[in-house]
Amino acid sequence: MARWELFTSYLEEVTGKPVKVYQSTDYNGTIQAMASGQIDIGSMGAGAYANVHAQIGDLAEPLFTRRDSADRRGYYSSIVVQRDSAYQSIEDLEGARLAFVDFNSTSGYIYPRWAMRQGGINPDTFFGKVGIGGGHLQTTMALANGQYDAVVTLANGGDPEVGFASGSLRRLARRDIINLDDYREIWYAGPLPNSSYIVRTDRSQEFRDLIRGAMLALPYDRPEAFLATGRLPGTSYTVADRSSYQDLFDMRDEEIKEHRRRMMQAQRND
């Protein structure tokens, strides 16, 4: 939690109120806390926001998201394999073992599955075994441990052309848990909207305006607090509205329909 201390003290100074930061152990924790009103603001991926939106609709809205110096506002799903494996492209993974991250993960489940279908690959039948890793870092570790042949995870802080500064692989490498040179990214999908800070709209307009303004100013007024949360220099926050996430709302609906169709098919087969 040390990375949040400067951030917390900044917000307390601005609001004059105590601020508490919670880190949820899974996506659903933040989603349900936001939907039930246990928290005022939550940082979450677009897919998780789509889940919140499905539950409480206009009772939640995005406050702001991130953009980089070139105005990129998105990040990428990637498929990672061991460098010494024979897999060079997603087509090579037919019949292989693949792990997604979490059913609520935007880049680790919802978006890549949608992108695979767009590319003519049915994620439910193309791979030999499909599993869930439980989190980006856990999923990447599952590849390192040999549980899967390939894993879906995220890459951010750039794009496939200029390269990436962060993401699961690079975070594990920074912690000396893996060697980046032992892995290869063979597929990207994106960009998908960066995670955003979502606020409940039953909090006052003054509160929402104050928090948004203070957070937009954070990289400029307290850059050390901004960078301490793992942000790349040159990135900043920018405003977002609901319409920016409509595609993700639609993708989630499509995924749920597809899931129900599969369940019904399985029941009929039984």
Partner: protein, 295 residues
């Protein structure tokens, strides 16, 4: 080894609501803004109006939008130029003023910039980094005259070429005496600096951070490179806020303006005068070069 990782999800909770931002003594009775407008050019009078007496003036949407977001009455003063707006702030007659870098000088001790307009090309005020090989004779950008500087030739050129030239110039570099060589990637520039093919590299800060792995706990990739300058380009115009105004109001004003192109496009059209696509925050020193030189 099994390690349980925490997903990078954070949630905020606190005793925020109902919001009582500041002590009653910090409350202001009205929020007053000064904006130079073409309509007021050539006049001697400053015209101040509230939402109730704005009538059919073109600023109506702007003042109405602000009024809808603040409990305090909004007073908008239209002035003939940025100097007149700055004078109102200096006299304590307004809390916010839209001023130019030149007009900011007399009020720099009692106000700070909080936001500027992001240009239509989509690239805002981004820091640029000028770097050279550690141990080279270069001490600052002023030493780059008659030297070759490596830049990124990739789009957006407003970021990779125009930005770095502006910052080099504002940091005291004789840009007209430098020659520039465009490279396809940051690693190529870094290698050209190391090999002596170019004397220095000039790139935007994210490219520098990405190349140097600055997110690492102890980055070492650029230990053999030295930063000669790292600076934002100086803002040409910005909204400034009086220092005495409680912070609550300037953050809320920033928020309301930042959302204005979404929420109140007619109001945004009037206040931006077509000069930008959205408002974005600025650092307090947005009108300064950091070299002690004012613009």
């Amino acid at each position: 080894m099994m390690v349980r990782w925490l997903p990078w999800i954070a949630a905020l909770a606190g005793a925020f609501a109902p919001l009582g931002f500041a002590e009653a003594g910090d409350r202001v009775t009205s929020l007053r803004l000064a904006v130079a407008t073409p309509e007021a050019e050539g006049t001697k009078e400053t015209s101040c109006m509230t939402a109730s007496d704005v009538g059919g003036h073109r600023s109506k949407d702007y003042i109405s939008h602000l009024q809808s977001r603040f409990q305090n009455p909004i007073v908008l003063c239209l002035t003939k130029d940025h100097y007149a707006s700055a004078a109102l702030l200096a006299a304590g007659e307004v809390d916010f003023a839209w001023v130019s870098a030149e007009a900011f000088g007399p009020i720099k001790s009692k106000s700070r910039p909080i936001m500027a307009l992001r240009p239509h090309d989509g690239v805002g005020r981004v820091e640029a980094v000028v770097f050279a090989k550690t141990g080279a004779a270069l001490q600052s950008v002023t030493d780059l005259a008659e030297q070759k500087v490596g830049i990124l030739g990739q789009p957006p050129l407003s970021l990779n070429y125009q930005l770095v030239k502006v910052v080099l110039s504002q940091q005291g570099g004789a840009v007209e005496k430098m020659s520039f060589k465009a490279f396809e990637s940051t690693p190529q520039i870094a290698e050209a600096v190391r090999s002596g093919e170019v004397a220095a590299g000039a790139i935007e800060v994210t490219a520098w951070a990405r190349y140097c792995h600055l997110l690492d706990p102890a980055p070492t990739r650029c230990n053999d490179l030295s930063v000669l300058a790292r600076a934002y380009p100086v803002a040409e115009e910005a909204m400034v806020v009086a220092d005495k105004l409680p912070h609550e109001y300037h953050y809320r004003m920033l928020s309301v303006h930042s959302m204005m192109h979404f929420e109140a496009p007619l109001a945004f059209e009037w206040i931006s005068g077509g000069k930008g696509k959205e408002f974005e925050p600025t650092e307090a020193g947005a009108f300064f070069t950091g070299t002690g030189k004012e613009h």
